[in-house]
């Protein structure tokens, strides 16, 4: 096909819209097939000369004012406090500000009971992810028209591309094939204590539907692919690190090697499907000028919300409300009494230490928990959560925090009534959600089991994040064997279209409790391959 067909019109075999985890995985697969797709993206980049802590966060902080790193001249790190609204702690890091920069202006949403987080950054929301990367097994794909075996080949490729640390342990039946994993990361003192206790009591706990093990995380336990291993510096909250994978790494590699034509500063708004091609209508953000791109097939990967908006805009449909799924979640702080008064573990990995699978009879589903160290966030983050007098709270910060772990527990999307997403006449999105439905009382069996592992908490300490704060959005354009309007075929092609493929979590038929990023990336590769088949046939 011709490359340029007009002053502001470009023609390609395949165009990918969006550079997040799904778009990146799609680009990777197309490159492996020998294609050179065009990727259209807003592509906001991190600021240059961003402040960094050199080496270990706490050692560095002994001699350096951390104001720029922790808070920033624009006070971004104080956003939650200054606005009085609970946000996402990791997104409050000044160096992560670019991840959500301009999102509200670029895609305004009128929302009730749903706090939608969007990203227009180069590499998407995954710039601030926890890098938990788990294969989907058949149980996770209940309701999907595909099986885990359909994703397995892509999972193998991605495992090699990313470098995933993990172990073959009690969680393998839930996390899938452990081959190709790097050795697990070193555990913190507290996490090691918990895992040792689990090993002693595992038979009883397994009978109660509780399984504990190592996470599968995109952080290198050993040097890999010219990248260094984790340095246990506690900096993961505050700055990007070469040992922590984000899709931006793959994107940069594909662009540098000439396998991807990346066009930033462009926001795709809708498409128009012609008999022999599809035309994308977009805006050049710097000038506001319209621009068109023509291709044989388009792979939409703008996120479950962004992709749904493009689809509704293309249909000029202001009446339909699409289903939007999200994982309901709770955050449970635990204290290990034997660690009270300990010196803070200042040399550990600041993200997920352990994973937990819970199959509760009270909910009739499988929940997945991530047990995190809290050494990376500011200590001040926790000061305000203690109930004592101000100086007494500072005492708790010193004496209690080194004894604490936090569990983020995710439930399947089916537990929560789905939100409704629709397009308004003024171009804004409307999302009508529901408050987090999880009942703390139903967690009682889990809390009892955790006590047997030396982890104590109280129901009053359990925090239910707002709906939307799990940032696991899916299911707006679900896959079905026989799809209807605003649904996809099993290969990701949107029903009613010949050339539009949905590569992100919009095409999920359901939303398992498991962190979906890796499964979504595998599926995006599969969908991109189907799009490539169509595009090359047309060419």
């Amino acid at each position: 096909m011709a490359d340029v067909i007009g002053r502001d019109s470009v023609e390609r075999e395949i165009i990918i819209v969006g550079s997040g985890a799904a778009g990146t995985a799609a680009a990777l697969q197309l490159a492996r097939l020998g294609l050179r797709p065009l990727m259209l993206d807003v592509g906001i980049r991190p600021r240059e000369n961003a402040p960094r802590a050199e080496g270990n966060l706490y050692e560095w902080h002994k001699h350096h004012d951390s104001f720029e790193l922790h808070i920033g001249d624009d006070l971004h790190g104080l956003s939650d406090l200054l606005t009085g609204e609970a946000g996402i702690a990791k997104l409050n890091a000044p160096n992560a500000a670019f991840v959500v920069q301009d999102a509200v202006a670029l895609s305004p949403i009128d929302a009730t009971d749903f706090d939608a987080i969007q990203s227009f950054a180069f590499g998407g929301l995954a710039n601030a992810w926890g890098a938990g990367l788990y294969r989907f097994v058949d149980a996770d794909l209940e309701g999907f028209p595909i099986r885990a075996a359909d994703l397995a080949p892509y999972a193998d490729v991605l495992t090699r591309e990313i470098g995933i640390s993990g172990a073959d342990d009690d969680l393998t039946p839930f996390f899938g094939d452990a081959s190709g994993l790097l050795p697990p990361l070193r555990l913190s003192h507290n996490a090691a204590q918990v895992l040792a206790r689990y090993q002693r009591a595992r038979h009883k706990l397994r009978e109660r539907g509780i399984f504990l093990g190592r996470p599968r995380v995109g952080a290198l336990s050993v040097p890999y692919d010219s990248r260094p291993a984790v340095d246990y510096s506690n900096t993961e909250f505050w700055q990007d690190q070469p040992y922590l994978y984000t899709p931006a790494l793959t994107l940069k590699k594909l662009i540098a090697s000439g396998h991807l034509d990346y066009r930033p500063g462009v926001m795709v708004q809708r498409w128009e499907e012609l008999p022999d091609r599809i035309v994308l209508h977009a805006i050049v953000l710097s000038t506001g000028e319209p621009v068109q791109f023509s291709c044989g097939a388009v792979v939409l990967a703008a996120g479950a919300i962004g992709t749904a908006k493009i689809v509704l805009c293309s249909a000029k449909d202001y009446a339909t409300a699409l289903r939007l799924l999200e994982n309901p979640a709770v955050q449970i702080p635990f204290v290990l009494p034997t660690s009270i008064g300990r010196c803070l573990d200042t040399h550990c990995f600041g993200l997920t230490q352990l994973n937990l699978i819970w199959q509760p009879s009270t909910y009739g589903c499988t929940a997945q928990g991530s047990i995190l160290e809290i050494t990376s966030p500011m200590r001040a983050e926790f000061y305000g959560r203690f109930p004592l007098a101000a100086r007494a709270n500072l005492t708790l910060v010193r004496e209690m925090l080194p004894a604490m772990l936090v569990m983020q527990l995710f439930f399947p999307g089916a537990i929560q009534p789905a939100a409704q997403l629709s397009l308004l006449q003024n171009g804004r999105l409307s999302i009508r959600g529901h408050p987090n439905v999880l009942g703390v009382r139903k967690l009682a069996p889990l809390l009892a089991a955790m006590r047997s592992l030396g982890m104590w908490t109280h129901a009053l300490l359990i925090y239910k994040p707002k709906t939307g704060h799990a940032i696991h959005y899916a299911g707006t354009l679900p896959m079905h064997e026989s799809p209807g309007r605003y649904e996809c075929y099993p290969d990701g092609r949107l029903a009613g279209s010949k050339r539009v493929y949905i590569a992100d979590s919009a095409c999920f038929s359901a939303l398992p409790a498991k962190n979906m990023s890796f499964g979504m990336m595998c599926n995006a590769m599969r969908v991109a391959e189907a799009a490539a088949r169509l595009a090359t046939e047309c060419a």
């Binding site: 706490y58 902080h61 002994k62 001699h63 350096h64 004012d65 951390s66 104001f67 922790h70 808070i71 920033g72 624009d74 006070l75 971004h76 790190g77 104080l78 956003s79 406090l81 200054l82 606005t83 009085g84 609204e85 946000g87 997104l91 500000a97 959500v100 034997t338 009270i340 008064g341 300990r342 010196c343 803070l344 200042t346 500011m378 200590r379 001040a380 000061y383 305000g384 004592l388 007098a389 101000a390 100086r391 007494a392 709270n393 500072l394 005492t395 708790l396 910060v397 010193r398 004496e399 209690m400 080194p402 004894a403």
Partner: protein, 144 residues
């Protein structure tokens, strides 16, 4: 969701530095470093701009008149009054933590279960003493 400090510059707050001194002394004792005080004043102006003027005035008056700001803050927090005052205490904690010399207030450098338990017990007793003191001070703060 970042905040533009300049948007609050038009809200004069001559008392912010005085508040900062009082809060710092309540939390850590002594005088705050000038750089910390300046940062607090900038951020406190923004906090003030998000609250009703009546609350700003009452909060400032109560804090500056208080002989035990820590006790007062505990009382307003537990009685859900003057949330602005509590937010200013939290603000000072965030800002103070960024200074290397304040790490000793946030990080436990030595391991001792016994010392930890004693310190926590002391913190609970301190709170038990501060609460009635704070409630008494709060009663003396004029409303409106």
């Amino acid at each position: 969701m970042s905040v533009d400090p300049m948007s609050a510059a038009s809200h004069p707050c001559f008392l912010c530095e005085a508040e900062g001194r009082k809060i710092y002394a309540a939390l850590f004792g002594g005088e705050p470093p000038p750089v910390l005080l300046a940062r607090f004043a900038t951020a406190a102006k923004i906090l003030n701009s998000t609250a009703p003027q009546a609350e700003v005035d009452r909060s400032t008056r109560a804090l500056l008149a208080s002989f035990d700001p820590e006790a007062l803050e505990l009382a307003v927090r537990l009685t859900r009054q003057l949330p602005l005052l509590t937010r200013k205490f939290r603000l000072m904690v965030y800002l103070a933590e960024t200074l290397p010399e304040n790490q000793v207030y946030f990080i436990n450098g030595r391991s001792s279960l016994l010392r930890g338990l004693i310190n926590i017990a002391g913190a609970v007793l301190r709170t038990a003493w501060k609460l009635p003191l704070g409630l008494w001070q709060l009663r003396r703060v004029p409303r409106g």
